[in-house]
């Protein structure tokens, strides 16, 4: 059994969360709320030391970089959300960030995802895999095309599309099982290894 107090704290918190498997209970709820609090507290500390201090306080007050007052003011308008009479001011900040982010992302989406992915589908139909990829992409897209009724050729292709979709979902399900089990392994390894030393390395 571990003698380290920190291991004990971690183990008791782990068990509190697992108590939910039996049924919902106050211990689980307390741990859940502590989790929210701890994550917010940690975020406050890291944001202050990594973003607020070196980007805001130090440049303005130590280095005299007064230009940084402008983004600070734009950001500060967000505080108006807590004052209903002036909350329209926060729209300026949201609009500024939204406009710029959308403008940056739009050509990137076209280039990184749309054009590159289309290019990857334009394959020489010389082997079975290339043929399957081209057919698969087209049929899946047609399956999600709802602007015309699924009749005739559209119906046939969308039916092929659903087969590809099911293979894809099956693969995703298989991988999801893998992921969830891995997370459980990590916790049991801690409880039975680090805490009660039943697992030996």
């Amino acid at each position: 059994m571990a003698t380290d107090i920190y291991v004990w704290i971690a183990a008791l918190l782990t068990l509190s969360i697992y108590s939910f498997l039996y049924k919902d209970n106050p211990l689980y709820k307390a741990a859940e709320h502590l989790f929210v609090g701890a994550s917010v507290g940690y975020s406050i500390v890291i944001t202050y030391y990594q973003a607020v201090l070196p980007r805001l306080i130090n440049p303005i007050f130590q280095e005299g970089d007064w230009v940084m007052i402008f983004p600070t003011l734009i950001g500060f308008l967000m505080v108006s959300r807590f004052f209903p009479k002036y909350d329209w001011l926060s729209r300026i900040t949201i609009a500024f960030m939204l406009g710029i982010s959308t403008g940056i992302n739009l050509p990137l989406i076209i280039q990184a995802s749309l054009l590159k992915q289309l290019q990857g589908t334009m394959l020489p139909m010389t082997d079975i895999n290339s043929i399957l990829i081209v057919i698969g992409v087209l049929c899946v897209m047609i399956y999600f095309f709802f602007s015309s009724e699924h009749k005739g050729i559209v119906n046939t292709t969308s039916k092929i599309g659903i087969l590809f979709i099911m293979v894809g979902f099956g693969a995703s399900f298989g991988y999801t099982v893998m992921a969830r089990i891995s997370l459980l392994i990590g916790r049991l390894e801690f409880l039975f290894g680090d805490w009660i030393h039943l697992i030996k390395y």
Binding site: V45, R91, V167
Partner: protein, 210 residues
């Protein structure tokens, strides 16, 4: 009028300027300096306010719960205690201090990772109760999941040596085609929404009030 028009104009100008920037050659120094300042200095500062407002909203919510002694207000006290604890160890000993690292390892990590590991139990239960080969398409899904699950663990090769390669083929050919088909659809949707935002057709971010 001004309260709604100004944000719309800002969104339009910001969007169009950034699209234009993408087509300006990288050798253009003023354009590069402008973009560097914007992305590395202005946007992070504004972004920090978004983060702080989010945190403040959460604090406000829990404070209201405690002040009005609504059902479960005791749990909100625990949330505040968690925040206070992390802030004390963080600001008291600094970000590089041992107490913050210990709090992270012994409080945050176990809570976060255990919360998600619970899903393994529910997923197993769901697989037993709901994963049925009722139709042909459901059977295809089930068989694929079966192959992938076996193909990625040690038993796979005991059953058939080629199973890992076959699993890799499923991932790189039919699965890839399916994911790409959906990805292209998502991209087109994102493009349409982006254009609607820039041209002021999509304005839900302004809220409903004048």
């Amino acid at each position: 009028m001004f309260k709604r028009k100004l944000p719309l104009v800002l969104t339009f100008v910001g969007g169009v300027v950034m699209i234009m920037w993408f087509f300006i050659p990288r050798s253009n120094q003023p354009a590069q300096i402008f973009f560097t300042e914007l992305t590395t200095r202005w946007m992070p500062i504004i972004g920090a306010f978004f983060l702080l407002i989010g945190l403040a909203s959460l604090l406000k919510l829990h404070y209201a719960k405690i002040a009005h002694q609504r059902e479960g207000w005791g749990y909100s006290v625990i949330t505040f205690a968690g925040i206070a604890f992390m802030c004390i160890v963080g600001f008291g000993w600094g970000a590089k201090g041992v107490p913050l690292a210990k709090a992270y390892e012994s409080v945050f990590i176990p809570l976060d990772s255990t919360m998600f590991s619970i899903l393994a139990f529910y997923m197993a239960s769901a697989a037993f109760r709901a994963f049925r080969a009722r139709t042909i398409v459901a059977t295809i899904l089930l068989v694929t999941a079966f192959i992938v699950m076996l193909g990625r663990v040690s038993f796979g090769t005991s059953i058939w040596d080629g199973l890992p390669s076959f699993t890799e083929w499923i991932m790189t050919v039919p699965n890839m085609a399916q994911k790409r088909g959906i990805l292209l659809g998502i991209c087109l949707g994102m493009l349409a929404t982006s254009l609607k935002i820039i041209f002021g057709i999509e304005r839900s971010y302004l809220g409903s009030k004048e």
